[in-house]
Point group: D2
Chain length 342, copies 4
């Protein structure tokens, strides 16, 4: 059994990790930390876990976490970078769901995240945990930087075309829509149901932190610099991301076949039949990304629809997928859940 | 492996059965019927099942269904009663999620359901599939009448007090609230999101079909006739039932202990700590009923809060629980899912 | 023109007052206060008001407010009681939407609201602003205690029967459901869309602050002490209260006629035809209360369904109705809005 | 008083017309037709209108409608074209909210709408009812083709830049999101709350009927052919459209000033301050379009955010605005409602 710890267990990605790990047949969760709720039983904060989890939250202490085989950071940005080195030194693998190790360019990270990076040396070692792109590196990694939710949906949608050099990489558009759980379990006015319910808005149009992460990923794949306009929106639902991607085709190609071939061996990327429209409800609670490819009116603009559950494939499920790879387990173990429809 | 068939696979209880049975380690789903969608792949109607179900819908033919060990009816009322006898004759166990065999008094059934019963003889044999009340009979049954969603939530909340003879059985009130999936996957104006969203209303106040079913169950437990006012409401959410139950206490008692003792061995009934409020989100997608007991202002009115997911413990999950019992499997097999929160 | 001020303009009842008063033909809003947002333009906080309101928030200073003819308090509990006396001394009428002057028994108020009352002497003078009960007193009042949202819906539903002495006043039940805007515009975890959306729960079952307010009102009408079990619930919608009321009938009566007669002259209470079910969407954004009366199965339990918009008839609309009465205006002025359906 | 008739009064645009017209001080609604509900009181179908509308639905007969000064068609496509000529002959003005007269090219209309046009001669006369573009023609029109909801939001967002010739008209993208009321009051599976709630999807990506309408409008403004990729999405809310528009800037310009100047005299188009994000909740129930303009990262892609209420500025409100213009009334009469927030 893999002994797992979760730092920052009171947020949505933390409780989602618990949902997945408590039923994972090869994992035992041995520590869940929370400064604010230390001493409280986990299942008193999350009654959905009653009968499944006898733990209480503990303060985030290295000594205790060092007894784990793997520690997940489900923390706000800026925490994992202060603890990762100590854990790695004690042979604990680290899977960071926050943004601390996602951006290779430290200066760019510091610009977007507004703080100094306390472990710049670890950034180079960290493997970007998108299995569809970095599977082999993940298998051998000690430190995983789990992709953000938007970056996962957007990159999986653009990858096949950029790899094949089919689209104008200088003029990509990603119009992305997220459920409100993406804002986390934080008491903020803008996330109130009275504010976010029954309404729709864009945010962060001048610049969102996921922009440099997405561009870095696409640039690696394209082998050239990319131009991306990224507009995130808040949607009145709890879970789900729908990315609508636009690109200019530079040559004719059977897009449907391209996508199907690229992802045929991927357990968690599902290319829908030609003519389909992806729907977030069909991946709610599952680790799957569903993709649909369109070329409207036979023009030269390709439209890709990409849906994930932001808390699963966009965060905690992907983290478990990474863990499975790092520990030599079947990649889908603990992730066979079917989407909750309706 | 148990060979299972589902009649009426295009409704919400049908697809929920698929969600649970496709991952059940002791079950193989071999037939899913639908007149309307016959010939279509199941996963083209339900893309959430892609990769998990290679079946196509077939017409509901006895010959094919007779090859099953168990057949679930996830059909509108009036269908199971026309097919159950033929299946039982061929040694196929039948689990009916509709109302056809729930009411022992045929005349009463015919009054509330507005049709003649075509298999009145089977009604006596049918076992009411509420495991918390009929576990032993279920184990030996050939034909199960799965309880309705409201009746499950309401009965589990009243049971301990009626069994103990603590409350005035002549004056019970059940104020119940259901998510819209309870109305089924039917194209009806009143179920449109524009009609049911952002609004709350009662319905069926003069009389709802679940009233006689609940009264029958409570009467058996109380050993006397019961008086029940039952008011169902439609709530702007998809899944979940919250029953708020009111009864007059006739003697002092430690209600918390009474409930905890009654349900301590039940795998799917969870009595929350004293002072708690049950929340449907904590059972969403799970087969669990969570209960909370209150005696406001130390008066003699007891208030019980009872929550279930109407499609799981209120329908398909309970059906699988019944199947597990009928086939001698561990009762929780295939039902260990954790509620999807948030 | 009536010069009106609003203290506490950044909450939902404050902005709802603005929605109503900015179009009121006899009112000019001259001051909107907010400590937190002082200096900011009102329409920068509430873009829905752009073009309609050129004011900026100011600190809540008596000097400025003293220039008003009427001041509305849309503040948290405990603020109005510290400012009302000074305003009344300067001949400013006061309409308090908070709870400060609702409970006549100071000790009881202090118990439920957890603070000392700073103006106990004004409590006796304050008129409870439920026009259907206190219209004449309101006309002559200087200080109005606007009823709470639950108390409005519950009292209007019980009134006709209590006035007529038809029901057992010792055993009333009010099962009430509120949209999330009732919790106010406060950054609290429990009001997040991820927490309150797609879920349903009761809260405050051991005791809610509106309980003593409702009991006080019902007691006055009944002319005797009343016993009430009051259970509020949180519903996943933004606006609306649905109260389902239960009482034991002590004599036969034409309930439909009773209700229609009682409210036939009331501009904002609408008794639906016999057999109807009230629906909160039909009063969304309007100052109306819609009522439906049922006697299920011809038993002796009467069920009343009462719906209001918690921010209008349950708060700001009722406040404007009171203002109209106090200033001798037509009672419906500025309140003729039609519910926003769908 | 203008005598107004509504054909097709049982859909959402019909009831929204009633909401606006019943309070319009210069209008008397004298006929509301519905084949299906003929004979029923309007307020029995729409209890929100109780006390405001004493009419019953009548069959759609020319004789009765000929007594009106203006007739609104809130019908499915294909109805207005069969009745408009007869009404115009009798000097009744016609405002069609359906698509029958929107597309000038009959062949294109017939291709997209799948039927023969029965009044092709009237198409030329019909004035496209977008006041911001055709105000003078509307004033003199007998027959108005009211714009679709998406076309209104999209055109108002692109207009200033196309008029100024600033963007690459050959490569426009409109990523539009609509609330579910846009699908109308029709009993369809895809509009059920269980299907459309808590989910997000694109639809009609290969081609949506509003595409040719938008292109026709933009072409007129641009004075050249335009290339547009239009992707509509379904959002889990009832009212609101959010269009996110992308275009390539061909020269530098102060976009904020451009938009503010273009719309400074428009009563129903509100350009938000620089840096703002439009939010559909701020126009819910109002006839306003709010716009925000961005140039992310100072690149050459301009992003315009355009929000309307699909049933008001996107349909019935705009129809009333047209009526006001046609009858020489103040353009804003009856449309001064404030958005319902929250």
């Amino acid at each position: 059994m893999i002994r797992a710890g979760i730092v920052g267990g009171t947020g949505y990605t933390g409780v989602e990790l618990l949902r997945l790990l408590l039923l994972h047949t090869e994992v035992e969760v041995v520590a869940v930390t929370s400064r604010a709720d230390a001493g409280q039983r986990v299942d008193s904060v999350y009654p959905s876990l009653r009968g499944l989890c006898g733990l209480s939250f503990t303060p985030p202490e290295i000594e205790r976490l060092a007894e784990c085989d793997v520690v997940f950071f489900a923390t706000p940005n800026g925490t994992a970078m202060t603890m990762a080195a100590q854990l790695l030194q004690r042979d604990v693998k680290v899977i960071d769901l926050s943004a601390d190790f996602r951006i290779k360019d430290v200066a760019e990270w510091e610009k977007w995240y507004g703080m100094s990076h306390s472990s710049p040396d670890l950034i180079a070692e960290a493997v970007y945990g998108l299995p569809e792109l970095k599977r082999d590196a993940i298998r051998n990694a000690r430190l995983i930087a789990c992709p953000g939710c938007y970056p996962t949906a957007v990159q999986l949608g653009f990858l096949p075309m950029l790899e094949a050099g089919l689209i104008d990489a200088a003029n990509l558009i990603a119009d992305a829509k997220s459920g409100v759980s993406g804002a986390g379990r934080k008491a903020e006015l803008s996330s109130l149901m009275s504010e976010a319910g029954e309404s729709f808005k864009a945010y962060g149009v001048p610049g969102h932190r996921h922009l440099p992460e997405i561009k870095q990923g696409l640039r690696q794949v394209a082998g050239q610099s990319v131009g991306l306009t990224f507009v995130p929106h808040l949607t009145p639902m709890i879970r789900g991301i729908h990315a609508t991607l636009y690109a200019r085709l530079e040559q004719g190609v059977d897009l449907q076949a391209l996508f199907e071939n690229r992802y045929q061996a991927e357990p968690f990327v599902d290319v829908l039949p030609a003519g389909s429209h992806a729907d977030t409800r069909n991946v709610r609670g599952s680790n799957r990304c569903q993709l649909a490819v369109h070329q409207p009116q036979d023009g030269n603009t390709v439209v890709v629809l990409s849906v994930i559950d932001n808390l699963v494939k966009g965060a905690s499920g992907q983290a478990v997928q990474n863990m499975n790879l790092m520990f030599g387990l079947p990649e889908i173990l603990g992730l066979e859940t079917v989407a909750l429809y309706p």
